[in-house]
């Protein structure tokens, strides 16, 4: 009791101001703002805000900027991000997952290794809620472009049929062909390339 009353006035004031500031900071973070955070794969990109009051560029993790662009970027604490975005972050769906399946030359026969991968794809798909998948067929550049367009579609359809048979009969599948238009390994025309003879599967 005695000690408290003998505290110099200046210190009392300091404590009070500090308390008020921290209270304010806790209640009123920045209002409308954007904050940059690392991607789920660990990489960090950039965000630019073009607002009514100016333009700001965010390049560091947990850097924020007001949406009107009026102030230079500022740091946002993890606690603040949790308060403002905890629910949105928890609602984030599982990130899409990709698989590549390869084929013997000229047809839609999977290589032995890729055949062994099918069961794993089915397991991963079944583990997701409301999964939808895309099945995109590709060819190498050997043969005519339109024949390859058809061949790649045949590959995608064959894989989709096998997956349906293995337990994904009810799964939404978008089946497409990119023919020889979307090479994984770029090659000249008329080049056999096993890594281009593929079907890309994405689970979402």
């Amino acid at each position: 009791m005695k000690v408290r009353t003998t505290l110099p006035l200046a210190i009392k004031r300091l404590v009070l101001t500090g308390l008020a500031c921290s209270l304010l900071a806790a209640c009123a973070g920045p209002q409308s703002y954007v904050a940059l955070v690392p991607s789920p794969d660990g990489s960090l990109g950039k965000v630019v805000v073009k607002g009514q009051q100016g333009e700001q560029l965010l390049t560091r993790a947990q850097q924020g900027a007001l949406l009107d662009g009026s102030k230079p970027p500022f740091d946002v604490s993890s606690e603040q991000l949790q308060r403002d975005f905890g629910a949105a972050m928890r609602a984030r769906p599982a990130m899409p997952e990709q698989f590549l399946l390869y084929f013997e030359t000229g047809g839609s026969e999977l290589t032995a290794e890729s055949k062994a991968l099918l069961q794993r794809i089915v397991q991963s798909a079944l583990a997701r809620t409301a999964v939808d998948m895309s099945v995109i067929g590709h060819s190498d550049t050997q043969g005519a472009a339109d024949a390859n367009e058809a061949l790649a579609l045949q590959r995608a359809t064959a894989v989709a049929d096998q997956l349906r048979g293995l337990g994904l009969a009810a799964t939404t599948m978008a089946i497409e062909s990119h023919g020889e238009r979307n090479l994984l390994i770029s090659t000249p025309d008329e080049t056999p390339e096993p890594r281009n003879r593929r079907v890309e599967i994405t689970l979402r």
């Binding site: 209002q31 409308s32 703002y33 954007v34 904050a35 940059l36 955070v37 690392p38 991607s39 789920p40 990489s43 960090l44 990109g45 950039k46 965000v47 630019v48 805000v49 073009k50 607002g51 009514q52 965010l58 007001l66 949406l67 009107d68 662009g69 991000l81 403002d84 975005f85 905890g86 629910a87 949105a88 972050m89 928890r90 609602a91 984030r92 769906p93 599982a94 990130m95 899409p96 809620t129 409301a130 939808d132 895309s134 939404t172 978008a174 990119h178 238009r181 979307n182 994405t202 979402r204």
Partner: protein, 153 residues
């Protein structure tokens, strides 16, 4: 006169065809709802449905979450967006035809909170990805970000 009539018929048919094509384009799904807690809705072309895992999201769709609710969507190009409570967002434009170089993803965040993980469109054509808000436009250079829009005072 006959010719005129024929011409107007042809015009009508063309207009109808154009209309139905526009409708078809609008109803093509560009993503699906994957997570929902609490009450949330997806409205497309005047039709409002209660959101559940698997609900389609199309060009023009408006997404709304109630206070205390949240929702997550995965788009065809692997863009992942999720929303906190009391949030409103619309899908203004979505083009995903990488082989033809047609890429665009424009959304508007009217209010609430958003967690955005950019996908293939942002990777291939960063300038084609924007999030409009009442006070500014967010541009995306391949990353994850968070955005909050406070309601008008």
């Amino acid at each position: 006169m006959r010719l005129l009539l024929k011409m107007s018929h042809a015009l009508c048919a063309a207009a109808l065809a154009a209309l139905s094509m526009a409708a078809a384009a609008q109803n093509t799904s560009v993503g699906y709802v994957k997570t929902v807690t609490g009450d949330a809705w997806v409205s497309t072309a005047g039709q409002r449905v209660k959101a559940a895992p698997g609900t389609e999201v199309s060009i023009g769709s408006q997404i709304k979450t109630a206070p205390g609710a949240s929702l997550g969507i995965t788009f065809k190009d692997n863009t992942v967006m999720s929303f906190g409570p009391d949030t409103e967002m619309t899908v203004d434009a979505y083009l995903y035809a990488p082989a033809q170089g047609q890429l665009q993803l424009s959304t508007s965040l009217v209010k609430g909170s958003l967690n955005y993980v950019s996908g293939v469109i942002a990777k291939l054509k960063p300038d084609a990805v924007t999030v409009k808000t009442p006070s500014g436009i967010i541009g995306v250079r391949g990353t994850q970000f968070l955005a909050k829009v406070e309601g008008a005072q």
